[in-house]
């Protein structure tokens, strides 16, 4: 039988160490909504989302009550909109109409975000893909809850450099159209290499075409819990350190598994995956950077950071995999800058640079995330940074992502405030040397040799 110490431990994790379930994300296929008439398409989309997801938020709240565990976000991911809208949309403005429909449906069912305003263009772009990508600035500046993502490459296909170049411009334009809000639109836009079909986390969630009609995916979190556990093993060997992280990750993941199963049962929707991620929030004590410090670094970014992060990421997976049979999504430690107070401190102390962050992304999920850069950064420079990050993902057969925010009107040393879970961020310097001639080449980077496994 459960004993009092176990009960006290669990409740301390929830109350003092920010243990929570970060998100229940319902994936909804919109393939059956397709129509060549735009109004009919939007009508179908609105009806399907508001029918299938009508109980999502309420169910989440009921589970919160049952176990007294916070479920921070309830979200929806949909089939990439470029696939759904291809037949009906002839202009970027047509696609933006779909975004507005998604926003309206998301407000109606009360979710925090809806993801999947996306295009998958790892090898080439269809006309619809390109129209959707060109509509992103308009879509994100005229909606509130819609998140957008674009998959630009994969280990199997190589990198679509034409799309990489285009995304540099789209990110700049999105920043420009949302400059009144510190270019907030870019916080809802992410580009990927090797994007997973079942990621529950925003801004990159979409419901892949390989998925069932509807599915429940859950993202767990808990950097604060890992940090607190590690406080008790200061000075101990790596073996003890790893064992502690593993055990903690196991416990955290089991809570996610329980919530996922329960939500799946209550909603009558199949359970998909648990995403084992350490997702920080700006709240004090809910930081991945603080874990790195607890492992033994003065600040995130100090020598040893990549090794410490590699260790952390691997142990989280080892503990989590034992706790759930279906693990997927991004699964790893997130290292966003603006959403992690420890990361912000490290940048402000001069310990953490964009280049070091790039190195860190080689060993963890996901990538250069929530990084504010000067608003006058050239589009080609942004594309160059994206290409670097995508190359890491392509060669290492892992997911990588870029979510940069060129803050219009602000420069290095200034701070941007996004509010809520998105936090605040110091504007970081970007390498000033040009990559114009590289980015302006046409075509794609071929798939790497180790992708030919057949």
């Amino acid at each position: 039988m459960i004993n009092i110490h176990e009960v006290v431990e669990t409740n301390q994790m929830i109350e003092k160490e920010n243990l929570d379930v970060r998100t229940i994300t319902m994936g909804i296929s919109l393939l059956d909504c397709i129509s060549s008439n735009l109004d009919e398409l939007c009508d179908n989309i609105y009806k399907k989302i508001t029918t299938v997801a009508k109980d999502l938020v309420h169910t989440g709240q009921e589970i919160e009550k049952k176990y007294a565990i916070p479920i921070v976000n309830k979200r929806i991911s949909i089939t990439p909109a470029a696939l759904v809208g291809g037949a009906a949309c002839k202009t970027p403005e047509d696609f933006a109409q779909i975004a507005k429909t998604l926003d309206k449906a998301a407000h109606e069912v009360g979710v925090n975000f809806i993801g999947g305003y996306s295009a998958l263009v790892s090898k080439g772009m269809t006309t619809a893909d390109e129209l959707l990508i060109r509509s992103i600035p308009l879509a994100l500046s005229t909606t509130e809850l819609v998140c957008s993502s674009v998959n630009l490459g994969s280990t199997k296909t190589g990198l679509n450099m034409d799309a990489v170049r285009l995304m540099g411009e789209v990110i700049k334009e999105t920043a420009e159209l949302t400059k009144e809000k510190d270019s907030l639109g870019c916080a809802k836009l992410v580009v990927f290499c090797n994007a997973p079909d079942d990621n529950p986390f925003m801004a990159g969630a979409f419901h892949g075409v390989t998925e069932a009609d509807t599915i429940i995916n859950v993202g767990v979190s808990g950097p604060g819990v890992v940090k607190t556990a590690l406080e008790k093993v200061r000075g101990e060997s790596f073996e003890v350190l790893c064992e502690t992280i593993k055990k903690t990750a196991f416990k955290v993941t089991r809570v996610g598994q329980l919530v996922a199963k329960e939500a799946s049962k209550m909603l009558g929707v199949p359970f998909g995956i648990i995403d084992l991620s350490l997702a920080p929030t700006p709240a004090v004590g809910d930081s991945v950077a603080d874990i790195l410090c607890e492992i033994g670094l003065e600040h995130a970014g100090a020598p040893g950071t990549t090794a410490a992060l590699a260790l952390l990421n691997d142990q989280v997976k080892k503990g989590g995999i034992m706790a759930s049979s279906y693990v997927g999504g991004l699964s790893g430690a997130f290292i966003p800058v603006s959403e992690d107070q420890g990361m912000i401190d490290a940048v402000e102390a001069g310990a953490l640079t964009l280049e070091k962050l790039e190195a860190m992304t080689c060993v963890c999920s996901v990538g250069l995330d929530m990084i504010a850069i000067p608003g006058d950064t050239k589009a080609t420079t942004i594309s160059g940074i994206i290409a670097d990050e995508m190359a890491i993902g392509m060669i290492n057969q892992k997911t990588t992502a870029v979510r940069l925010i060129p803050v219009i009107g602000k420069g290095v040393g200034e701070t941007v405030e996004f509010g809520g879970l998105l936090g605040h961020a110091p504007v970081m310097p970007v390498n000033q040397f040009s990559c114009d001639a590289f980015v302006n080449r046409q075509g794609r980077i071929p798939a790497p040799v180790h992708s030919f496994k057949n």
């Binding site: 459960i2 009960v7 006290v8 009550k65 049952k66 176990y67 034992m322």
Partner: protein, 90 residues
């Protein structure tokens, strides 16, 4: 059996257990086990109860117990057992 864990955390005062137990008895909730300990100078009590024959819904019981707790200056929480079992048992 619908096992639920009730925890009471706060400063030790006279009658905490009595108040909670009276409420449980009135609502046909059977107590299976009680234990208590002191953590960081706070009184911690845990009860394992069976709500199978309870008169009221889980939500209502949780809310009402929370209210009783706040009247006597302690925090009373009601949670289904599965969260602890899944976390601490393989």
């Amino acid at each position: 059996m619908k096992k639920t864990i009730i925890t009471v955390v706060g400063k030790d005062t006279v009658g905490i257990i009595a108040k909670v137990c009276t409420y449980l008895a009135d609502n046909h909730i059977n107590i299976l086990d009680i234990s208590q300990t002191i953590v960081d100078e706070f009184f911690n009590m845990m009860m394992i109860v069976d709500m199978h024959n309870a008169d009221k819904a889980f939500d209502t019981v949780a809310d009402e117990l929370e209210k009783i707790g706040s009247e006597i200056g302690v925090i009373v929480k009601c949670q289904r057992e599965e969260i602890f079992a899944s976390m601490h048992r393989i």
